[in-house]
């Protein structure tokens, strides 16, 4: 369970690098805003599932409250932009810091609870925040506009304020964000913290008996995850130039992040990305082609995939692929040994 493919296994990185190369040159070939829009959606969910994975995948605690952090990021960057004219580039970092503080404050009591209780409490916190925003028109003179939501005013094409013509720029921004969160995950996985987190996931009591301060490491992971989730929330709000409580901080959003992380493979760098690349297009295609006649079809597919994944691939879709690579790697090294 804790075995990681060693860094010497080169073939493991060849495939993702090729995929990245393909993604980078893709906009040159894709005609039509719609397909680019779908791709931005896929990459956004890959990013959010990866951010969720930093705390949930590596600690084994299921958070269904990450949408609140996403909403905090979105609202703070939007409100700072509208009321103070602060560029969302800085606003998203401010939102990230605020979400980190909120995440740690909520995480501190929650991490004493385990399993289903933890999941239910995160739902409760996120729902309290969503219902409060939905029923608040203005606070301290700042307009929140309740359930109506806030539109980000269009000030023309200007990279300085996160407004771009077309979707290509957003596409490259979200790729950069995804690479960043994956790099951080990889770094964390290889660090001392990563090993501590895995020990806590395997058996929290045993880990504590070995002298690991589990609260401290769980909270560091929570802080990292909160920061990146809020950053993504800002991107989501600025990309659509609109934010409302239902869409940007609803329970459905949390379930989607968790679903992609779990189906892809939690506790791995590539798993959540794989989950998003498989599920988001499946959802988008069914919505676009049959959505009018069958509302909810994409969620039926998500539900079915979740059931099948839990039953047959409890470690996620990444597991069989990993085995394939490690077997290939083992054969290669065996061949090299034979040659020498």
């Amino acid at each position: 369970m804790l075995k990681q493919p060693g860094p010497r296994n080169g073939s493991l990185y060849a495939a993702p690098l090729l995929a990245l190369l393909a993604l980078l040159i893709l906009p040159a070939f894709v005609r039509g805003e719609y397909y680019l829009h779908v791709l931005v959606g896929v990459l956004f969910f890959a990013y959010m599932a990866s951010a969720w994975n930093i705390v949930c995948g590596y600690t084994g605690q299921l958070s269904l409250g990450h949408s609140a952090l996403c909403g905090i990021g979105g609202y703070i960057s939007t409100l700072l932009f509208i009321n103070l004219g602060l560029t969302p580039w800085i606003g998203m970092v401010v939102g990230g810091v605020c979400a980190t503080v909120v995440g740690v404050i909520i995480g501190y009591p929650c991490f004493r609870l385990r399993g289903p209780y933890f999941a239910l409490t995160t739902i409760a916190f996120a729902e309290i925040l969503r219902i409060w925003v939905e029923n608040t028109e203005e606070i301290l003179g700042i307009e929140l506009r309740g359930a109506q939501g806030i539109s980000v005013p269009l000030k023309g094409q200007s990279p300085a304020i996160f407004q771009f013509e077309g979707k290509v720029a957003y596409y490259y921004i979200v790729i950069a964000m995804l690479l960043m969160v994956m790099a951080v995950t990889l770094w964390m996985e290889r660090s001392r913290t990563g090993f501590y987190l895995k020990a806590i996931r395997a058996d929290q009591d045993a880990a504590e008996a070995l002298g690991i301060n589990s609260t401290r490491y769980l909270l560091s992971a929570m802080a990292l995850s909160s920061f990146f989730t809020a950053l993504g929330g800002s991107f989501y709000a600025q990309y659509f130039r609109y934010i409302n409580p239902e869409r940007n901080m609803g329970l459905d959003l949390s379930i989607e992040f968790a679903l992609m992380g779990i189906v892809g493979g939690q506790g791995t760098v590539f798993g959540p990305v794989l989950g998003a690349f498989l599920l988001t297009p499946a959802g988008e295609i069914s919505r676009a082609t049959l959505g009018g006649r069958f509302p909810g079809l994409h969620l039926v597919i998500y539900g079915l995939v979740l059931v099948l994944a839990v039953l047959f691939l409890p470690k996620g879709l990444i597991q069989p692929i990993r085995q394939l690579f490690s077997r290939g790697g083992a054969r290669q090294s065996a061949g090299r040994r034979a040659a020498a």
């Binding site: 299921l62 999941a119 916190f125 309290i128 069958f294 909810g296 969620l299 539900g303 839990v310």
Partner: protein
């Protein structure tokens, strides 16, 4: 605040709260016996509401008579879902480390599927039943009235709770269920077919929702999304009362009903649910075993 209005709010809260308690019974029973958090619980209630609705709409059958169809149907659906989808996980876990989260995810997947299959088939509309009976009310004094349909729902909820307690205490099957809850392996050694007990428990937890659906539909509008609100409420009720405790479930339901109803007099009904969540979090942090729960 006017004491009369407050009194009416408390009475309404008790009536609705009894119903919340009975809805949460199945969740509590299933957790108590199988340690499974059933995230699809609200979706089963949605089915329990739709069955009497369609029987009334298509054949004109009185919803109270529809119990004879809805309860066995829900029992069968629950039994089948447990036997085909959840049981394989138990078989696997017997050999591996127990991971309650994977069961939770499994039932969440089932719930998402059921809700959205209903949405696909029926659309998002709210549907309800009108009976000449439904407008009549029972008067206490000259200010306080209780709608007959709600009164019937409340009394049914109490009856279900008492019936379930008696069933678990007095019958052989009830004893088998309780012993499986206490110790799965010891029960198996005593000759109890544990997987059959699990199937029956799950079916029973769902059958209760079939009965509730029939008494609720005369005054409640049903839509495919109704499950989520009641699922979340049931979790609050169960955590309040103590997970696995049957009297706790009714107590938790009554508390939640009264809190919701009274706070709705002070703030808008939509933001009143914030208070329910706050109570939920406080109970989990301060008394995680619930008001009537035992130490696990």
């Amino acid at each position: 605040m006017d004491p009369i209005i407050l009194g009416i709010a408390v009475v309404n809260g008790i009536i609705v709260g009894g119903l919340y308690g009975a809805i949460a019974l199945g969740l509590s029973l299933i957790f108590g016996v199988m340690r499974v958090i059933n995230f699809a619980h609200g979706s089963f209630l949605m089915m329990g509401l739709f069955i009497p609705f369609w029987l009334w709409k298509l054949f004109g059958i009185n919803p109270y008579l529809a119990v004879v169809v809805a309860a066995p149907a829900l029992f069968g659906i629950g039994y089948l879902i447990q036997a085909t989808i959840i049981a394989p996980l138990f078989k696997r876990e017997r050999a591996m480390i127990l991971e309650p989260l994977s069961v939770l995810l499994l039932t969440a997947g089932v719930g998402i599927m059921l809700d959205n299959l209903a949405l696909m088939a029926l659309g998002p509309d709210f549907r309800g039943i009108t009976m000449d009976f439904s407008a009549k009310a029972f008067w206490i004094g000259s200010v306080l009235n209780i709608n007959y349909t709600r009164l019937i729902a409340f009394l049914t909820s109490i009856a279900i709770t008492v019936g379930l307690s008696l069933f678990l205490a007095r019958t052989d099957l009830g004893r088998a269920i309780r012993s499986t809850a206490q110790n799965r392996d010891a029960a198996a050694l005593c000759g109890i077919n544990v997987s059959r007990v699990y199937n029956i428990t799950f079916g029973l937890g769902c059958a209760i929702l079939g009965v509730i659906g029939c008494v609720m539909i005369p005054f409640y509008l049903v839509s495919p999304s109704v499950g989520l609100a009641f699922g979340v409420r049931s979790f609050i009720v169960v955590v309040l009362g103590g997970i696995g405790s049957i009297p706790g479930s009714i107590l938790g339901g009554l508390i939640l009903g009264v809190v919701e109803s009274v706070t709705a007099q002070f703030v808008t009904a939509t933001s009143a649910s914030i208070f329910s969540f706050v109570i939920f979090i406080l109970v989990l942090f301060l008394r995680p075993t619930g008001l009537m729960g035992m130490k696990v």
